[in-house]
């Protein structure tokens, strides 16, 4: 893979703390999110949802409806007008390969079954109050144990609620032998609670059917939606709503956070599309926060038994996990993918003789469980690091030294994983841990204030830069994961870059401009990044997710920029009567290396190209380059997180006192942006560690339906974070970026939970269920008290 030719351009923006180029409109209230879109004749939708966790829909009764509405679209019409939504990831023993919008049943409270359309949302909700859904109730199935019991089946033509099952890593025979040969083993049972993504902007869609074409269907269906993946939405609309793709346009306007939950088109959104097609009128639907907390796909909710085998000299030998994931009512597009990612990344930075997982995904009458920042790697990090800490405690050794002892070293790179045909792409894990030790050695001793203090270190290696498309079908993933960029330099030398990935806070408008500006010798302010419009931006089935945008999307931008730079240099060489390889770009000019007086403005070059004058042989007019980047391998960013917590044994409250991160994400395009991703990632690890939990009671009713019950971290819960960098460029990606957006969550969740366990070692065996709420911490300290 060709990397940047460092002599081609003299500008250096990559690596600089370039201030964000996109901020101003947002700061002054001029962001354009979905709900800011208005169209003539716009109507408003509300979703008819099940109030029962499980049942057969007998009727939708509108006989009491007095509120003026434009449409009530019921489930039978929806089923008749649609095809099932494809599921992209099919894992072993998975029968569910597609999901109809409605199959006669409801399987969680909030399951969408219809749409009401009225002049405004107030009236639409009034109409919901007058619409009665007659449901023949079936027993709720809540929790992994109830689901596995198979007493009530969510899909009665199947014999089990298990939705997928596989074994990963070393085979059982080999693993058993490794465990038998090891000096010691430990077994720990863990539960990770369910969480919700809670982007500050809820889901949203505006559908404009436009005018009918000659076949009566819309000439052009235009959709604005708060999405991470507009092309994925377009694919779903085409497949489900039975429309040809070329007549569908999906636009992602400004998006207020995604974190994984906006990576696909939801059933209720597709129902709104059907309603707009039926009415021939534009319709807007904005999810409210109750819906966001009960029907937007959720995450984690897994039960683990982890076995770890080790020798008394501290050598780690084997790690084995039995994992069950509560997938909720049905699979969304990535199915049990997060559990698969867990089993694939369980090994982490250590040398093992065996890494083995038995995994099952099971259905329950709860909200579908799907993508969220971390995507299983948060869980892998947590399980593994907790087990390693337990080994350190058993052996009475320093937990960081134990890690260093077992880490894969740089001379063992590229390191072949035991869990798949993947290799780590370079990195120095021992030094990461040593640097963390240096940071924490500088922490002042904690005060003697009656609280219990604990420190934990977690190190993770994150599969990022997803990924090689050719490998996807081998693991059951039915979509590709390459990226492309179309780059156009205008006749005045400014640049437009059309990219396949979307931005919802990551700062692509800045970081991609830095990447491109470096290759073209211009300033980032001269580069505009265009994203999220399927009419103009290149296809991306995956969108922004999986820590792939800068590595893969940015990789394609670099390739396109290098192609464009080559073209510019060739044209300039012709004009300056020099060799192409002797031309350098910088400060808006193309000049001959070593003789800066022989130069020409890049705008002149560009204009010449657009007019087609005196171009070198083999070059057509114009200045447009398109480059596709198909990653040859995954990238593997890694980091060590260390935190210190104080636990109040009387209240169970936990304060995070100190936090440090050593990060290696390869080439750092913009340190400020990367630090911001670490901050936000840690916050989304800390929340599930201490206070975020989706609770559904045994009758299937959700209990955490407002932000006063589902507690996301506030500022006072977040510590300041010290960050140090290592830089090991990936050998695979153009530019050497690895991608890291999700990693903060992996480290944050693990080290906060493990620090609480370290603070209370005598009851660590009772601190095995997250979040470690004050109630759970207190109960662990006072197990003898009845009804705590």
């Amino acid at each position: 893979m060709t990397l940047l030719d460092p002599t081609r351009s003299v500008t250096r923006h990559v690596g600089a703390r370039q201030e964000r180029l996109e901020d101003r409109p947002f700061l002054v209230g001029d962001g354009r999110y979905c709900d800011d879109i208005d169209l003539p004749g716009l109507l408003h939708a509300a979703i008819i949802r099940s109030t029962s966790p499980h049942g057969i829909v007998r009727a939708v009764d509108v006989s009491d409806l007095t509120v003026p509405v434009d449409l009530v679209l019921g489930p039978d019409e929806i089923a008749a007008a649609s095809d099932p939504c494809p599921i992209h990831w099919i894992l072993p023993e998975q029968w569910q390969t597609e999901r109809p919008l409605f199959d006669g049943r409801v399987r969680f409270v909030g399951d969408p079954i219809g749409v009401v359309v009225a002049a405004d949302r107030y009236l639409a909700e009034d109409a919901l109050d007058e619409i009665f859904v007659d449901i023949e109730e079936l027993p709720a199935v809540v929790g992994i144990e109830a689901a596995l019991a198979d007493t009530t089946l969510l899909y009665p033509d199947r014999h089990t609620n298990v939705m997928a099952r596989w074994t990963a890593g070393d085979d059982d025979e080999h693993t058993d032998a490794v465990f038998a040969a090891a000096d010691e083993t430990l077994t720990i049972a863990l539960r990770i609670g369910r969480v919700a993504g809670v982007p500050m902007e809820t889901r949203a869609i505006v559908v404009d059917p436009g005018r009918p074409g000659r076949d009566g269907r819309p000439e052009k269906l235009t959709i604005w939606t708060s999405t991470q993946a507009p092309h994925a939405v377009r694919d779903a609309v085409a497949d489900v709503c039975r429309l040809p793709q070329h007549r569908i346009r999906v636009i992602g306007p400004d998006v207020g956070g995604g974190f994984g939950v906006k990576d696909h088109a939801y059933e209720d959104e597709l129902m709104v599309v059907l309603a707009a097609l039926r009415l021939g009128r534009p319709i807007k639907w904005i999810e409210d926060r109750w819906e966001s907390l009960t029907t937007t796909t959720q995450a984690r909710d897994e039960r683990y038994t982890v076995d770890i085998a080790y020798d008394r000299d501290g050598t780690l030998r084997g790690i084995r996990v039995d994992a069950v994931r509560d997938s909720g009512a049905y699979f969304s597009i990535f199915g049990a993918g997060p559990l698969f990612a867990m089993t694939g990344t369980l090994g982490g930075p250590y040398r093992w003789d065996a890494v083995n997982s038995h995994a099952r995904a099971v259905a329950s009458t709860t909200c579908p469980n799907h993508s969220y920042r971390g995507f299983g790697q948060t869980q892998a990090t947590f399980i593994r690091e907790l087990a390693v800490d337990a080994v350190a405690a058993e052996l009475g050794v320093d937990p960081v030294e134990l890690r260093i002892q077992n880490c894969i070293t740089p001379d063992e790179q590229p390191y072949q994983l035991r869990t798949g045909p993947m290799k780590y792409d370079g990195g120095d894990y021992p030094t990461s841990l040593r640097m963390a030790q240096e940071l924490t050695a500088a922490w002042p001793a904690p005060p003697d204030d009656g609280r219990r203090w604990g420190v934990a270190t977690s190190i993770y290696v994150q599969q990022a830069g997803v990924g090689p498309s050719q490998g996807n079908p081998h693991v059951g993933l039915q979509i590709g994961s390459w990226e492309s960029t179309t780059l156009r330099m205008e006749r005045d030398g400014t640049v437009r870059a059309y990219v396949g990935v979307s931005s919802h806070g990551q700062g692509h408008a800045t970081t991609f401009a830095q990447l491109i500006a470096d290759r073209l010798g211009c300033e980032p302010e001269q580069v505009e990044i265009i994203h999220s419009d399927t009419d103009v931006t290149p296809y991306s089935a995956y969108g922004t997710a999986a820590s792939r945008s800068i590595a893969v999307g940015g990789g394609s931008a670099i390739l396109a920029a290098e192609q464009l730079a080559t073209r510019l240099c060739a044209i300039a060489a012709e004009l300056l009567e020099a060799a192409t390889d002797d031309i350098v770009l910088g400060s808006g000019a193309a000049s001959v290396r070593g003789t800066p007086a022989r130069s020409i403005d890049i705008a002149d070059v560009a204009n010449r190209a657009w007019q087609g004058w005196a171009l070198p042989a083999g070059y057509d007019a114009g200045l447009v380059e398109h480059a596709v980047y198909e990653p040859p391998e995954f990238t593997w960013s890694y980091a060590t997180h260390t935190c210190r917590v104080a636990v109040d044994p009387e209240t169970g409250l936990v304060e995070i006192d100190r936090y440090a991160v050593v990060m290696d994400c390869g080439t750092v395009v913009n340190p400020t942006i990367v630090e911001g991703q670490i901050h936000g990632g840690v916050a989304q690890g800390l929340g599930p560690a201490l206070c975020e939990e989706v609770v559904v009671d045994e009758t299937g009713q959700p209990r955490t339906t407002t932000l006063l019950d589902y507690l996301v971290p506030t500022s006072s819960l977040m510590p300041d974070i010290e960050i140090a960098f290592q830089v090991t460029p990936s050998p695979h990606t153009p530019g050497g970026m690895k991608g890291m957006g999700e990693g903060g969550t992996n480290g944050g969740f693990s080290c906060v939970v493990n620090a609480v366990r370290a603070a209370l070692p005598e009851v660590a065996d009772r601190l095995t269920q997250t979040p470690l709420t004050p109630a759970r911490v207190w109960r662990a300290l006072h197990p003898d008290q009845e009804n705590p």
Binding site: T651, G652, C691, S716, T773, Q785, N787
Partner: protein, 294 residues
């Protein structure tokens, strides 16, 4: 989550409010600050036929000075820290009536002020009214516990009558008071103790409803202890008070356990809440005892 349909009135006198209440009774909801009612409306958990907006009613909008000189509306940490042990300068937006009896500058009712300081966040607190909070009767809120501790009272007016209800007779269940549907809260009296007072609270996050909140004061008539978050209504821990009057803190903790029957909910269990209550009591007594000795 939009409110359901309701009729709306924004009268300008107490008399008009009472006349409306005669016609609408318990089908009317009184809108004071809105920080409790409007969330219920938005969830459609409250479906009143009429919302009576008290925002323009004269006679309910008095600003009350607690403890001395005038101050600004923001109850900031700086003000609170400077308020300990000195004449404080705080303004409480009274909305539907606060009558706080006169205070001596030496006893700045820091417990009352501190309780108010723990209400939500500044953006919530700026809209909170004492009358509205007392009428809403959320046992997890701070001011009901303060009212109960201080043996305060609530003044009610209807189109035919005015009466005063003692704190012990006011709260009769979760989110329930002995207010009749035709009555309006026009004043709340919080008799400030003639000794130091203290508020403490443990919450999951700052600004959340308390797991347990506690008001403690020690005056010439003895100790007063009341708690929020430990039952369907604010609890006056009279057994605990008696033990404190007897000078035995350990006995007071045991008595406190007996005074409480805390609920189990999403956020904490009952033994956990009891443990937090005991810890708060010990903190309160430690803080208030030196002041008395001096």
């Amino acid at each position: 989550m939009k409110p359901p349909p309701f009729a709306y009135a924004d009268p300008e006198t107490v008399t008009e409010v009472c006349d409306l209440l005669v016609d609408w009774g318990d089908d009317a909801a009184l809108l004071a600050g809105g920080q409790s009612l409007v969330p219920l409306l938005n969830l459609r958990l409250a479906r009143p036929g009429l919302v009576i907006d008290l925002g323009r009613v004269s006679g309910l909008d008095s600003i009350t000075h607690v403890g001395g000189s005038a101050g600004s509306g923001e109850l900031g940490r700086g003000e609170r820290e400077s308020g300990r042990g000195e004449g404080t300068a705080h303004v409480v937006r009274s909305g539907a009536g606060v009558g706080v009896t006169s205070l001596a500058a030496a006893h700045p009712a820091s417990g009352v002020v501190e309780a108010i300081h723990w209400i939500g966040h500044p953006q919530i607190r700026a809209r909170t009214t004492v009358g509205g909070t007392i009428a809403h009767a959320d046992s997890a809120a701070e001011l009901p516990a303060v009212l109960v501790a201080l043996d305060g009272s609530v003044t009610l007016r209807s189109s035919t009558d005015e009466r005063m209800v003692a704190a012990r007779d006011w709260f009769d269940g979760p989110f329930s008071t002995t207010r009749q549907p035709t009555e309006l809260v026009v004043a709340v009296d919080l008799p400030v103790p003639d000794g130091p007072s203290w508020w403490g609270e443990v919450a999951r996050r700052r600004g959340d409803f308390a797991l347990v909140g506690m008001f403690v004061s020690r005056g010439s008539d003895g100790w007063r202890v009341a708690l929020s978050g430990v039952g369907p209504i604010s609890v006056r821990a009279s057994g605990c008070e008696a033990a404190l009057d007897g000078g035995d803190l350990d006995a007071a903790c045991v008595a406190l356990d007996a005074d409480l029957d805390p609920p189990e909910d999403l956020h904490a269990g009952s033994a956990h809440r009891r443990s937090i209550a005991r810890q708060l009591l010990r903190q309160a007594v430690a803080e208030l005892t030196p002041a008395v000795a001096a």
